[in-house]
Amino acid sequence: MLKKVELLAPAGNLEKAKIALIYGADAVYVGGKQFSLRARASNFTIENLKELVLFAKKLNKKVYVTTNIIPHDEDLTGLEEYLLNLEQIGVNAIITSSLHIISTAKRITKNLEVHLSTQMSSSNSQTLSFYQDLGVSRVVLAREVSLKEMKEISQKSNVELEVFIHGGMCVSYSGKCVLSNHLSLRDANRGGCAHSCRWNYHLYQGNRKLTKKHEFFNMGSKDLMALRFIPDLIDMNIASLKIEGRMKSSYYLATIVRCYRKAIDLYYEKGNLTEEEIEKLIIEINKAENRQTSFGFYKGKTTIEQQLFDTRNETPTKEYVGHIIDYNPETKIAVVEQRNYFEIGDTLEFFGPNLENTYLKLEKMRDKETGEELSVARHPLQLILIEVPFKVSKDDMIRLVLNKS
């Protein structure tokens, strides 16, 4: 029997990693304090990793650690000790782009799998055979690979394939871009990328300026959303479906992971996904997604539909207002940690890994500390007591239902 596809989620810190696993990810990938891209993520100490691995193992799930910078000499200090530590605490795999890190891991560890990062932009089956010869057990394909190409590669390769299904996309081939280095001195391939591809540019032909006033030449791309292609990816035996976003919030992760989890489970259960099911899940995804999305390279060559023009479209979502800390089924009182403003009269939407979206019109709430009745929950992280007539659990989340005029 073929192995079930893995849903792989990112996490920038311990809380996010736990949320991703609780909400249905089969594995999480995280960065340590060394060797990892995303210098601005909180990243994990060895102690954090230990705690995460224990947590994951209890759920029979996995932890991968990124060691995916393209290192300079100064970055490689302590590599062997670090890899041995990762193996010792039970991390399942490293994700790397350095041949030296690959060969070191293969030489000194026994149980640490080596996955090849998308930073190497692998886009054909012959490349995969090169890495298989080195002992790499999984390759994260370049985001530029189409669905058709994925199928061809999967048919010709013995190494496991991992593909991106959701999140931000580099516009350049990963690992081959140093635009940020040159424009901002921030090293794109060591975790400092300034996303210079999303800045505004003027286009010239010779000395003639072609961009008009208030119009710019933009290179930014829409984020990827490949929900529709889940059945195809499962059918071609892709090993792992990867969500991008180590900088994203717990709320974002919970929403996105939950939706893809549902899509995967529905497909395994029924053998198909209806258009209605897909649309419903897309609506749900869009409650947390604050950027325009598209299918990237899944259908082949990209067009203007996959690019962003004239706009910075990142509008903060205000819908996420709280999450459940505790619930007493006898008194039906939930302890809610506030994450955004909400008030009496609002309609709240509760959701969780085991809770379908359920609605409650808020009529009463009290501050947990003072017991005082509240008309608004205005303070971040304020603990609020709310009567919830249906069962909720720790880590379930709450959205504000916005009125769309």
């Binding site: 060969s103 932009s121 886009s123 012959q126 890495y131 190409e149 350049s172 001195l185 505004n200 032909q205």
Partner: protein, 295 residues
């Protein structure tokens, strides 16, 4: 014989046939090469190879693109048609090309953003034997790598791609704006909203490429880069014939000690080209707070 020259014109094969310092010519091939000013058809390549060998020089084919599953087969056919047995080196960045031709021709791994430390260079040399050290490191880092590894290729002059996208960003821009686009033009530039530097664009079947605003060079550093152990590449993309030959001549005359360093530098900077150290003088950081600004 440390110089490897990327051909800008076929006539340069004869022009430099007596220059002992030039060991190898790099030739670009249609559908295979990024960056190369000169991109030959299969028949032109065969003729060029024959002429280069007749002049007792070596040939390196530039095959440094990323190839997707349906593209690599075309690349393999082209290289087989040229007759891979008849070339001395194949310069590649895609490991699919390596896997296919590894037992048939000597390979040079060329990936300017990747070979950034001594240990990776060492590992890649064990497999490929010939590698080009990254040109996206500082000179000090380059010197350190050379101390720890021998027989390296070093990018000595050129204009590097700093961004390589499979998307047709330029074509799409004109489509979106409903403006006329000349795909044959090589005269498109970008200038960032708050900066002044001009970044050249090239867009072709392999995608959209953005280049650094100037030509990087190493000259005064050459004496510290183990001239006799390493090979030095001069790229001639974005140069016309006259410019490329002036630059090649500057390096030749300096290495043959016909011109002093000061004279060679003077000639280089008199060329009216944007010349700078590039990333060889670019100490990068990770966080915005670490970027020093000149007040």
């Amino acid at each position: 014989m440390p110089l490897v020259i990327e051909l800008n014109k076929i006539s340069q094969i004869n022009k430099y046939k007596k220059e002992n310092l030039i060991e190898t010519f790099i030739i670009g091939i249609e559908h295979l090469s990024l960056d190369s000013k000169l991109k030959l058809t299969i028949e032109e390549a065969k003729e060029a190879i024959e002429l280069i060998h007749k002049n007792k020089k070596k040939v390196c084919i530039n095959c440094n693109r990323v190839f997707h599953e349906n593209e690599i087969q075309q690349a393999i056919e082209i290289l087989n048609n040229i007759n891979i047995n008849n070339i001395d080196y194949l310069m590649f960045s895609d490991f699919g090309i390596y896997q296919t031709f590894k037992n048939k021709v000597e390979m040079i791994y060329y990936a300017p953003t990747y070979l950034t430390n001594s240990k990776d260079v060492n590992e890649y040399q064990k497999i490929f034997k010939n590698v080009v050290i990254s040109n996206q490191i500082t000179v000090d880092e380059l010197k350190n790598i050379i101390q720890n590894n021998k027989n390296n290729y070093i990018d000595t002059f050129g204009r590097n791609a700093i961004f390589y996208s499979k998307r047709e960003i330029l074509t799409n821009y004109f489509l979106y704006r409903n403006q006329k686009y000349n795909p044959k033009s090589d005269n498109y530039y970008l200038i960032e909203e708050y900066r002044n530097e001009r970044y050249p664009i090239l867009e072709d079947e392999s995608g959209f490429h953005l280049y650094e605003y100037g030509f990087y060079y190493l000259l005064e550093e050459l004496n510290e880069l183990n001239i006799n152990e390493n090979k030095f590449i001069i790229h001639t993309n974005f140069l016309n014939k006259k410019e490329s030959e002036e630059i090649i001549n500057i390096y030749l005359s300096y290495l043959k000690e016909e011109k002093t360093l000061d004279k060679a530098l003077e000639l280089l900077f008199n060329l009216n080209l944007p010349i700078y150290k590039g990333a060889y003088d670019l100490k990068t950081v990770l966080l915005k707070s670490e970027v020093k600004t000149n007040a």
